[in-house]
Amino acid sequence: MINYFKINIFNFLIIFFLGIQVFIYFFNQRPLTKDFSKMAMSVENFSSIVLSKSGITKIGSEKLKKIDDKNIYLEGKSYLENKEYKIYGEDISIKLEEEISNSNKPVKVLNSMGILNAQGFQNFDNEGIMTFKGKVEFFIDD
């Protein structure tokens, strides 16, 4: 009789723990992974590397906000650096698929010609065109 109960309890425990594992798998892991890629998120003191037409570009900011899979927003002091230019600005929006970045805040750019200060910029990276807005001062290295 005692053996009968022992076997039943043992079987019950096995089924119970398997059930918990199935519960964790379906109701915890899978949905969380799915939601993570879709939801908006933010990271502080962020830096990363992206591959664009200009080559490897290092990006960083005080705060990164992921708007969706195609758009990110670098909030606060931010930068984009690669072999062609170094952009130091604030509140920079980046469209990842189109490789377009822009900001309406003052920006400082360093390239192989000199140092440029402007009131904002828009960078069409895959076209190799960077537009600086407002009053622009470009000091050229002699």
């Binding site: 010609m113 190799g128 537009t131 001062e137 470009f138 000091f139």
Partner: protein, 153 residues
Amino acid sequence: MIKILFQIIFLIFFSIAHSESFVKASDSLIWDSENQNYTANGNVIFKNEKFIAYSDKMIANYIEENNKEIFTIVELFENVVIEFKDEIFKGNHAIYTRNNNLIKLTGDVSIESPTRLLTGYELIADIDNNKRILNSADKDSLVEVLLENDTNN
């Protein structure tokens, strides 16, 4: 001693400030790295080691040498004013080529200096050889060679 040191530092900074080249614009500046040019719009000021120029628009082509960008041709559009030493060149359009230091102005062209004012429709200023060629409506060609010993401008 400290006073002299400060004066030397001031002179160094002053000379650096006056020798620097720059482009300034009030509206926008476009850097096209594919076609290797810069386009500046609105109250443009361009300064290099030779002259200072003002215009409404500027397109400057460049080349890359030893990982550095160097302007080769600078084109200025509308209300062009170029100040070179004590001379002022004016025109509707100007093109400067760096390799031979030539400035060619077209449109309503004038050369203004402390002693004279000459007008015409085309001016070619050869900076290295200190030579000016002004084509005016009255004469087919008027050539003026500035009589200075120092031709190394």
